[in-house]
């Protein structure tokens, strides 16, 4: 469009009409394209969900949640050890990622406001957020799995600990940035009121500011949690996977996404079935977390605050 505006001046009225029609048509075409692209984007999502529900629901049974995998070639078995392993890994990751993340967020929002250091930290967190998860796996392999030293706990072999650390580090930037944003929404008057009552600063931050912003901060933590819950790449050569029950931090451990990956590429139909079941469990967990987050944020717990 936008071309052919000088055809001849004697046919001005028709020219105008033509242009108006072309413009209207372009407008309609653009609207149609936008709608079409939205449909095209939503389609795979619905396709994935429907297929996942259809395949996954039929493969879920009690054994799936209570049994460990059978030896290859045997039918049946479940992913109980992978579910437990994921829970342990995610618990460890949260124990590492959430406190450090929130601490970083408090620094950015309360102490470092407007300083160069805060800008640098913010930027580094964004960069860390963009680091591919596989690179994180390689780095943790080099840091914890490979070196055999007394300084580093659980070092020298594949272990649940290294997997948890990898996931925990991946949580930090997300938690940090969302906490910062939520803390910034807390009105100054609340802080001033606390300080005017003679509350020490640390106490005011912890039990006034952080508490006011806590729904938002929890939201951020759950988002980070949902994100690392499905991470596979950093676990490939840290947690490694395990066919048996294991709760030790010192040993390789199974994880749901890892198991899905291994089963998906295996040649057995029964393992494909388990992979779909695992995928359904994982996605239900994540969708629950994300919807909860959306519910909490859309209720406007903090909206009116600023």
């Amino acid at each position: 469009m936008g071309s052919g505006n000088s055809k001849g001046e004697d046919k001005l009225p028709t020219e105008h009409k033509m242009r108006a029609r072309i413009r209207a048509l372009t407008d309609g075409a653009a609207t149609g394209l936008a709608v079409l692209s939205t449909v095209l984007v939503v389609a795979p999502l619905i396709a994935i969900f429907v297929y996942l529900l259809y395949k996954g629901a039929s493969s879920l049974n009690l054994a799936f949640f209570t049994e460990i995998p059978k030896p290859e070639g045997e039918l049946g078995g479940g992913m109980a050890n992978a579910i437990l392993g994921s829970a342990i890994l995610l618990g460890l990751a949260s124990a590492i990622g959430i406190p450090i993340g929130i601490g970083g967020g408090i620094f950015l929002a309360e102490f470092g406001r407007g300083t160069k250091l805060a800008d640098a930290v913010r930027f580094t967190a964004d960069v860390l957020n963009g680091v591919p998860s596989i690179v994180m796996g390689v780095a943790i392999y080099g840091l914890i799995v490979k070196p055999q030293s007394h300084w580093i706990p659980f070092s020298g072999h594949f272990s649940a600990f290294s997997g948890g650390v990898a996931l925990g580090i991946m949580m930090i930037p997300t938690v940090c940035r969302t906490s910062e944003e939520m803390l910034l929404m807390v009105p100054h008057a609340v802080r001033e009121a606390a300080l005017a009552l003679g509350v020490p600063n640390w106490r005011s931050v912890l039990s006034i500011t952080v508490k006011t912003a806590s729904p938002g901060i929890i939201t951020g933590c759950m988002l980070a949690f949902a994100r690392v819950a499905g991470e596979t790449a950093p676990l490939l050569f840290t947690a490694l996977g395990n066919q048996f029950w294991s709760t030790s931090l010192n040993e390789p451990i199974a994880a749901l996404p890892l198991q899905i990956y291994i089963y998906a590429l295996s040649p057995y139909d029964d393992l494909h079935r388990l992979a779909w079941g695992g995928a359904l469990v994982l996605i239900v967990l994540i969708v629950l977390a994300v919807s909860l987050v959306r519910y909490v944020t859309s209720r406007g717990v903090l909206k009116g605050a600023s």
Binding site: V35, G104, I283
Partner: protein, 416 residues
């Protein structure tokens, strides 16, 4: 405009703080004799004492600034601001020595700083570890690692990746990563912009929330589930229907050769990557589009533009830098994506012209071989690939952040 808004939030706070500090300093100054002479302080003052660190901050601000505006001073006779500051600092020292919350406050402050610094520490540790690991490979082949390959003297064919004989070249991986990522961008960018335009400018209010939620959900699905879906649904679909069509229609270009019956390959990887980066690009594009002031839209509409012309001239043109940033951010994500790509790209370290051929990518070779590498050189070569990926994604992400920031930094001004 933005600056003014930002300030308008602060003055109330600053004024209160200043007044409070000033008043307290004055009170302290007048109580000075009392404090030093009396052994026991009045209870109320004792409570106020806890606030000393806060006053410390305010006092610092006070000293940095020329002085509080005239109207904010208490009316009764008092020493000038400078004298008050000096007085207060003496009292502060006295009060600090009484063991209040200053130490815990300072400890808390530094704990938070430590948390923030640990983010630096992590990035530095990752970088150091990768550089250390890549050293062997770097000293063996240097930059040639990324650009040249060992050629077999007998067959005259390049041997890109031959762990058994110790020949390593990252060429096919770089090629595969670039091809699959750009294919993904090619598919995803028009769609993402379409979605963003629809959601911000055209969508009925009732649909907006659910649709935005759905696209966000697309971002929350783990990559391994995308891979699972791609392996069992997308790849058969491509194999049965799409690839033959592509060969028929575009086979003459040479980009769609017909020698791969599996359905895996660059096209499959590109499609699944496109699905994965779509939500990132579209949500960021939406963000920068809503940051465009409403007055721009209104002005274009007032000149008689149709809706599309308004979007094109009023919105997209103003948001273009931010959209480029969003696209680059999507590229960063695509470059580092591992699991879904590994599952569908075919994992063959070769360079072929056909997009339907099996390929491999930087991330997938690491995922496939790192756990099973045997020789030091093999490890080192894989680590060097990881390092390259790390550096490239940092550069790409930084670039994207700067571009998005350029557009959205003035966003709050839109309210007016």
């Amino acid at each position: 405009m933005f600056l003014r808004r930002r300030k308008s939030v602060c003055p109330g706070h600053e004024a209160v703080e200043r007044l409070f500090a000033q008043g307290f300093a004055d009170a302290c100054a007048s109580f000075c004799g009392l404090v030093t002479s009396c052994s026991s302080l009045p209870g109320s003052l004792r409570k106020v004492n806890v606030n000393v660190p806060e006053i410390h901050i305010s006092q610092a601000q006070l000293q940095a600034e020329p002085g509080p505006p005239e109207g904010q001073r208490p009316a009764d006779g008092q020493p000038p601001a400078k004298a008050a500051a000096v007085e207060a600092s003496a009292i502060r020292r006295f009060l600090l020595s009484r063991g209040n919350s200053a130490i815990t406050d300072l400890g808390f402050h530094w704990l938070m700083v430590l948390c923030a610094l640990s983010i630096f520490g992590i990035v530095v540790l990752i970088a150091v570890e990768l550089v250390k690991g890549a050293q062997l490979s770097w000293s063996t082949s240097g930059l040639d690692f990324f650009f040249r390959a060992f050629v077999d003297p007998d067959t005259k064919l390049p041997m890109y990746w031959d762990p058994v004989n110790g020949h390593f070249s990252a060429l096919p991986f770089v090629y595969g990563t670039l091809v699959s990522s750009f294919l993904a961008l090619l598919l995803a960018v028009p769609l993402a912009i379409g979605v963003a335009v629809f959601l911000t400018e055209m969508c009925p209010e009732a649909l907006r929330g659910p649709l935005a939620f759905l696209t966000e959900l697309l971002a929350a699905i783990p990559s391994v589930i995308y891979g699972l879906w791609a392996v069992f649904v997308l790849v058969p679909l491509l194999r049965e229907h799409v690839n033959p069509l592509l060969q028929q229609l575009l086979g003459w270009t040479g980009f769609f050769g017909s020698d791969n019956p599996t359905g895996l390959g660059f096209v499959a990887a590109g499609v699944i990557l496109a699905v994965m980066i779509l939500p990132i690009i579209s949500s960021l594009t939406r963000e920068v589009m809503t940051a465009v002031p409403h007055s721009q839209r209104e002005a274009v509409l007032a000149l008689g533009a149709t809706r599309w012309e308004m979007i094109r001239m009023g919105v997209l043109r103003n948001a273009r830098i931010g959209i480029v940033g969003a696209v680059i951010l999507g590229l960063g994500r695509a470059l580092g994506e591992t699991m879904a790509v590994t599952m569908v790209i075919g994992n063959t370290p070769e360079i072929s012209r056909s997009l339907l051929a099996n390929g491999t990518s930087m991330a997938s070779v690491i995922a496939n071989e790192y756990g099973e590498a045997t020789t030091d050189l093999h490890f080192s070569a894989l680590t060097e690939i990881a390092l390259a990926l790390f550096i490239v994604t940092i550069i790409v992400n930084a670039l994207a952040r700067v571009l998005v920031w350029v557009v959205t930094r003035g966003a709050p001004a839109r309210v007016n």
